[in-house]
């Protein structure tokens, strides 16, 4: 394999360029897409840009692959490319890839043809990658903003849809508000330590192991700074008190964008959080552990409770993603080799199951341009058996039932947590996932089981065989396809997305060996682990 590191050896600038190669490629392609927009007709245009975007992702993957076993620092140590990045980049690129696959069909059916869309996606993906790669508060802030700005635009992308705009607006205000906190936190950290580079801050704190009597205000500053920084990151991770944007913007945004936010942004946020946490938060002097402890519990409990009675599927998944964030956070708290690698694995698994779920939601949204309201799902399991089965599979994975990646993720994270002695945390988490199962199952019930109101009447004899007088699709579907919407052909792109997600969810669930070892390899490149 041709070794770029050797070629550019010695030239500092190229080296630092090399360190951001995967991101850079994406950005280049994003610009290409914009340029292409100038030259040809909108209809062809969107198609081209779609392919360009895919190619871009592919190239980025290629670079990632070629660089995978190097550790390159660039831009005066503010950006690093290491094993940790390799793993998270993979996840992020995957989520971007899946998003793009979903997008085409989604926007085609809504006849929104805009090449910028894809470039924006690429931009935001690259921003996420930068965020993960950054070792410096400046870089963190910049990439967060970069990412967020793209996200704002994408959220409001459906013109004329007031929901979309509203979502964008809320997201914008809240996001900016949060990053203001982050900034101000940075100020305090800067004031306390005089550094903006995580590495330096780490060393600074490490050298003078704080006693409270020594330099009290410094310690206070640092603490305040860290907390505010935490707020900024927690917002992106959508932990409990800072979660408010999640449901609304997920709901309002175009579904592919929701997918991007649910997977990509979450991964990036957790990635950077892990980096920051492992470098500067983990010191005992601050003991942030019980804060996170509480946050985790609040987050998962809130998420599940709010999701329980939810009828709008996108919102439901939004809330469930909040709950998932809680579970993932447990891994971070557990820390250590197993904790972090478990977390990474969970993130990867999370990409596939969430993306898969969204893909199916889009499919149903398009097939019978219904709302994403759960009612419209009744009996879909019969109308589209395979899609229904796949959807149930993803939902079960989200619920954490075995042979799905969701279970394995939970399992790794929880066992790591128990290993570090967080018995109660795990216990509560388990109770949570027990009753979280209810609302995932509720959807499956809707899809497959039509509640016949009058009990003591065997459905097999009356309802299922009954003439399709009753409105719901499934009963009709039960006796042939009579009186049903004609099945449209499922668009290939979506199908590919679903299949990919399905395969990986299954593989991660049954044979996680390579992935977990990949994750644990990537963990080694973090400090203080």
């Amino acid at each position: 394999m041709l070794d770029l590191a050797q070629i550019y050896n010695g030239y500092y600038f190229e080296k630092s360029l090399l360190s951001i190669m995967p991101e850079a490629v994406l950005i280049v392609f994003a610009f290409l897409i914009l340029l292409a927009g100038l030259f040809n007709s909108p209809s062809k245009n969107s198609l081209n840009s779609y392919y360009l975007a895919l190619i871009g992702i592919a190239f980025s993957f290629l670079y990632l692959f070629m660089l995978s076993d190097h550790t390159i620092k660039g831009f005066y140590g503010s950006i690093i490319f290491d094993k940790f990045d390799v793993f998270l980049f993979t996840a992020i690129l995957l989520s971007g890839f899946l998003t793009i696959l979903m997008s085409k069909n989604y926007f085609d059916t809504r006849s929104v043809l805009m090449p910028e869309y894809y470039s924006l996606v690429l931009f935001s993906v690259s921003a996420m990658m930068l965020l993960v790669a950054s070792l410096n508060l400046i870089m963190i802030f910049l990439s967060i903003e970069f990412m967020s700005i793209c996200a704002y635009i994408l959220t409001g992308y459906l013109k004329g849809e007031s929901r979309s705009t509203e979502a964008a607006m809320k997201y914008f205000v809240l996001g900016t508000f949060a990053s203001a906190f982050l900034l101000f936190g940075a100020v305090f950290i800067y004031a306390a330590t005089g550094h903006l580079s995580l590495y330096k801050i780490h060393n600074f704190i490490f050298k003078q192991n704080y006693k409270v009597h020594y330099a009290y205000n410094l310690h206070t500053f640092l603490a305040i700074g860290l907390i505010l920084l935490l707020v900024g990151l927690a917002f992106k991770m959508s932990l409990f008190p800072f979660h408010a944007w999640t449901p609304d913007s997920y709901d309002g945004a175009p579904t592919p964008v929701t997918n991007l936010m649910a997977t990509g942004i979450k991964i990036a946020a957790f990635g950077v959080f892990i980096r920051v946490f492992t470098s500067i938060y983990h010191f005992d002097v601050f003991n942030f552990y019980n804060i996170l402890w509480i946050l985790a519990i609040l987050t998962m409990t809130f998420g599940n409770f709010a999701a329980l009675l939810q009828t709008d599927l996108k919102r439901l998944i939004a809330y469930s993603s909040i709950a998932q964030a809680g579970y993932i956070l447990i891994g971070v708290i557990a820390g250590g080799y197993y904790g972090i690698s478990g977390t990474l694995f969970y993130l990867l698994a999370y990409v596939f199951m969430t993306a898969g779920a969204f893909a199916i939601i889009i499919m149903f949204e398009n097939l019978n341009l219904t709302s994403v309201d759960i009612k419209s799902y009744s009996g879909l399991g019969y109308k589209y058996p395979l899609a229904g089965a796949a959807f149930s599979f993803f939902l079960l994975s989200l619920a954490g039932i075995p042979v799905t990646s969701g279970f394995m993720g939970k399992f790794f994270v929880f066992s790591a947590a128990i290993k570090s002695g967080y018995y109660w945390l795990v216990f509560i988490a388990l109770l949570n996932s027990a009753f979280a199962a209810y609302y995932y199952i509720k959807i499956i019930v809707k899809m497959y089981m039509i509640d016949d109101e009058q009990p003591n009447i065997p459905n097999n004899y009356n309802n299922m065989a009954a003439a399709p007088t009753n409105g719901t699709g499934a009963r009709a579907s039960a006796n042939g396809e009579t009186g049903l919407v004609k099945e449209k052909a499922v668009p290939s792109a979506l199908l590919i997305a679903v299949i990919i997600c399905l395969i990986f969810t299954l593989i991660l669930g049954i044979f996680p060996q390579p992935f977990i070892s990949f994750a644990s390899k990537s963990v080694t490149s973090l400090w203080s682990i």
Binding site: I138, F177, F184, Y190, A191, G194
Partner: protein, 103 residues
Amino acid sequence: MNVNVNVNDYLAVASIIFCIGALGVLIRKNLITIFLSLELMFNAANLGFVAVSEYLNLISGDIFVIFIMVVAAAEAAILLGIAIAFYREKGAISMDKANELKF
């Protein structure tokens, strides 16, 4: 002379400005005003950075400030876009209008 005091004062002022900004965001309804308050918060941060980097004779803070300004500008652009779109649909840019998405 005691430098510590100065920088602390700077920071105190910055914090006050920040809080004012935050309050503005919280209590105002008009989108533009809210954005201005956000800017205020950002600038509070800027002030802090400048003061600290001055005090520690570092340059990184100042660099950060420049970046922040750029970002703020970009955000202004976005906000205007959103605000216009919002106005198109709701006929106003008051927060109260934005209550379609809930629960």
